[in-house]
Structure formats: C-alpha cells, structure tokens
Symmetry: C2
Subunit: 130 residues, 2 copies
Amino acid sequence: MSLAAYYGDFTVAAASENLTASQGKTLNVLRRGPASMSALATTLTCDASNMTGIIDRLEKRGLVRREPRPSDRRVKNVVLTAEGERVIDVIRGKMHTTQAGLNRLDEQERDTLYTLLERAFVPQDAAARP
Amino acid sequence: MSLAAYYGDFTVAAASENLTASQGKTLNVLRRGPASMSALATTLTCDASNMTGIIDRLEKRGLVRREPRPSDRRVKNVVLTAEGERVIDVIRGKMHTTQAGLNRLDEQERDTLYTLLERAFVPQDAAARP
DNA sequence: GCCATTGCTTGATGTTCTCAAGCATCGATG
DNA sequence: CATCGATGCTTGAGAACATCAAGCAATGGC
C-alpha cells in the first residue's frame, strides 16, 4: 500500500542514523518548531508518558533539549538542537524511494497531490511536504 | 503531516478492537490473500523474527492461521480466519477521520489522488485504496 | 486558601523490534 | 546419492515502545 511505502522508507532512513521510527517521527515534528510534551503526544497519537521516554533518549543524545516555559512552569518545551536539525535533514535526504517516487511525477502533478492530501487529511494544520 | 493522520487514525481504530498497530497492519496486508512469514516481513519492512511474535499473538486469538505449504515444507502460509476478516473489516470501517477526509474530495479528485499515489509509491504492486 | 484540572513523570506489564544463533528443508553440484 | 550453501522460520537476549494507573507540581477559578 502506498502510505506504507513512505513509512517503510522513513524507518530505513531513520535507522541509518541509529534512530528508531518513533524518534525519527518526533524529530520530524519538531522541525516545525518547539512543542510541549503533550502537544507532541497528541500529534503522534500516543500517551504523554510515552513521550517522556522518547524525549529522554533523544535528549541523552543531544538531539533535543527540554526548556521550561516561563508562562507556565508545568510545561516543558522541547526544542531541536543544531545537531538534531542536522540529523533530521540527513534522514529526510536519505529517503530515496519516496524521492524517486515523487520524481516520477512532474511538478504540476506533485502540486495536485499535495493539495489533495492536504484537503483530505489536514483540517487544522499547515501541510508538510513529504 | 498528512500521512501521519492516516496512521494515527488506523492506530486508534485498531486499538478499539484491542489490536496494536502492527497487528492491524498485518491483518490489513492479509486481506489481499495468504502470505508467507517472510513475505509479510518484507511488506511490513521488519525482521522475519519479528513476524513470528506478531503472528503468534494473532493466532492465539484466532484471527489468523498458519498452514504448511505442501510444495515447500519450510514455508508457513498465513491465512486470515473468518473472525480475522470480520475484525479487519470493522477496523477499516471505524477509520472515521480518513473516511471524512476522503469524503471532502469529489469522486474525480479521489481518482486523481489514487492515481498519483499509485504512480509515486507503488512500482510493483496493485494500488491499495485507503 | 481550597480544589478540580492540567502537564509531566514514574513504575508495572505487555508488545515490538533487532541481532545472533539455531534447526529443518530445499536445490544444486560433485 | 551425499554434501553443502542458501532459504524459511523460530528462539533468546536486550533495548525501545506503548498503555495504564498513580503520583507530584503548577495553574486558575471559586
């Protein structure tokens, strides 16, 4: 199935940087900007207690940083470090299959695809380009 | 990101039937017909030893059956049981978000979307309709 | 100040995932 | 045939992931 191809590819690319799929997805979400633990959990549709462990491991490797949010001291803002940014860029660059797949379409077709996906699946949020 | 929405939805639907995402994906693949352990592992981009455990648990719940392949006694063919078919149908029916998203497109747009996805991501296989 | 709510963490339990190792079968080659 | 490399699956160990219940700290309304 089409979408599985995308995720399989992402998993392989993430693994090449010694990251699990969940860690890769988390970095990918953080590319858009800092987010609280609960916001990450919501986006990745998992329990908040789950994010604690994932962020723990990413932080231990210096890819991510927990910062307090002054306006609400309960909240931890998770931020990509420079190294984290580098790693997620490398991963995205390595997604050969997806890139090759998208290259099979011309520019106008790619635009159409993105527009349709956006309308179908993203009610609230800006579209992310695979 | 658009594709994450699809999988989040699938995860929730699978959980409502007390299945994990991996178990749900496995049943979903088997909808197309029986497959060997290694074929499943390839499709789901994971290790063969991984499938053993997943199929073990699905089999214990009667959703799936291992059958020997007479032409090659090393191979185990994994087959959906009637109950397994019922469960995966329920799950697919529960994917409200995806359904609602696709309903936001008219028929011609859906066709375009499927065609583009197919051309971009599925070189070898028939297209699967989400 | 009280108290329900929210945000995050901890601990327990089961599942997933990967790797290395193992056993059985197959197919080809001598 | 007999052997031997390759293939299909399983097992076991160790890490990560997932979910739930419980807990603590901070918040905001009363």
